[in-house]
């Protein structure tokens, strides 16, 4: 990349700053986030490395980040942000990266189930306003075609009186639909 002709607003770090308010250039690679991250060992790149790859402004690095498993394995526990001596909220940046990854259709194939769960969750509340577990699991199973998973816990929940069979509906359903419409929930990358 030839930096001489690049306006600072075109830098990815500026886009992140404008969208999330977080300045990735504040990161000085101490590695505390990666040390505290509960899922770092399952990630392809630990949190501090994701930040470094974004700092380089190199397109290959950016692509690797957006198609990484790391951004989907992040549970948003916020341990990274709470321990960061430079007060960089990596969790907020990760939310931004996930949205980007979906919009640019760069989601890692390994994250299919995680994304299917999030999408099924949002679909479920879009229709009923409240989470309807039976509907959520149904939608999730359709998306993942994993019909047998959890077959053993569901009857347990049902007999403990913890799995309502019918949805609890919000009365103002048009209000909820409107929220979804106006915030333009994108359902791209659909299977």
């Amino acid at each position: 990349m030839n930096y001489a002709n690049v306006h600072h607003n075109d830098l990815y770090s500026s886009r992140i700053k404008n969208s999330t308010g977080e300045n990735i250039l504040n990161c000085y690679q101490c590695g505390k986030c990666s040390a505290g991250c509960p899922v770092a060992e399952d990630m392809d790149f630990p949190p501090s490395m994701i930040l470094r790859m974004l700092q380089t402004e190199c397109e290959d690095d950016r692509k690797a980040v957006l198609s990484s498993m790391s951004i989907w394995l992040c549970i948003s526990c916020e341990m990274c942000a709470s321990r960061c001596p430079q007060k960089v909220s990596i969790a907020a940046i990760t939310d931004f990266l996930r949205e980007e990854s979906v919009q640019l259709e760069m989601v890692n194939p390994g994250a299919k189930k995680i994304l299917a769960f999030h999408k099924s969750f949002l679909d479920s509340i879009k229709y009923t306003g409240r989470l309807y577990e039976v509907g959520l699991v149904g939608l999730y199973k359709l998306r993942t075609r994993d019909l047998l998973q959890d077959l053993l816990t569901a009857p347990g929940l049902f007999f403990k009186g913890k799995l309502p069979v019918f949805p609890h509906m919000v009365k103002d359903r048009s209000g909820i639909k409107n929220i979804f419409k106006k915030t333009a929930y994108r359902n791209r990358g659909e299977q």
């Binding site: 509960p38 899922v39 399952d42 394995l73 549970i75 948003s76 526990c77 916020e78 341990m79 942000a81 709470s82 909220s89 939310d95 931004f96 996930r98 949205e99 979906v102 189930k113 995680i114 299917a116 769960f117 999030h118 999408k119 969750f121 949002l122 509340i125 306003g129 409240r130 989470l131 577990e133 699991v137 999730y140 998973q149 959890d150 816990t153 347990g156 929940l157 403990k160 009186g161 913890k162 799995l163 309502p164 609890h168 919000v170 009365k171 103002d172 209000g175 909820i176 409107n178 929220i179 979804f180 106006k182 915030t183 333009a184 929930y185 994108r186």
Partner: protein, 302 residues
Amino acid sequence: MIRIGYYPGCSLPGTAREYDESVRALAPALGIELVEVPDWNCCGASAAHNLNHELSLALPARILSIAEREGLNEILVPCAACFNRLARTRADLLADAALCKRVTDSTGMPYTGKSIPVNILDVLSRISPDYISSKVTNPFDFNTASYYGCLLSRPKDIVQIERHEDPLVMEGLLESVGAHALDWAFKVECCGAGFSVSRTDIVGKLSAKIVNNAVNCGADAIIVACPMCHSNLDMRRPALEKAAKKKFEIPILYITQAIGLALGLDFKKLGLHRHMVKVNLRPDTLVPLAKEEAVSAMEAEV
């Protein structure tokens, strides 16, 4: 009687039914009146903030706006995940007027930030420990590991907890009802939260470390204040046992259940029969004489 708004969220009428039952049973016993936010909706949970930032603010904003309209200055949000989303939405909308305008346009409801979301620990810790102790009929005489998880302890300026790496608010509450709160290492570690369905393997691995440490420290029960922590440590017990390669019998109780038991509330009214891991803890009734002794012993300790 303290009058306070109540937002149960989606877990409490469903998979965390016993949490709802125990909050509703405990509140009147401690002089708290709960007023449910009418026609509440889902807060969007992790799914919304994973995929759409504006949506993750608009869904909680609708709840806060309704509470405001109803004149509720505070809303008790027992679910730690909902609480975290509501508290964050309030902070974000108050900090950014342009964002607030966009979000209120989506919800079609005005928002001023008058209603403040609070979690169960905020509400319980406001009550004097002496007052709680004076109500105890069956001291919760067990070794407890207080498990806060992520959503009650982080980010610290949003959830406003003291000592966010080593909080002690649950310990104080439990000791006021006769428990021995243990010092242990995993109180603010993550259990795997929303990966319960999509990555049960990760939930098993993380939750196994938590339960293992609590057991090694000698805990009789793990006390939680979050439906996701509860379901991962209780309902996902087979997954975590698989990861730990050993069996655990330790029950997971909501803080409201532990305090409720100590206050002599009914086992079933507190929903203790709904757990996947059987709860065998039945605190003994204090005989009047022993109660006086216990009080004087406590005073001597102080």
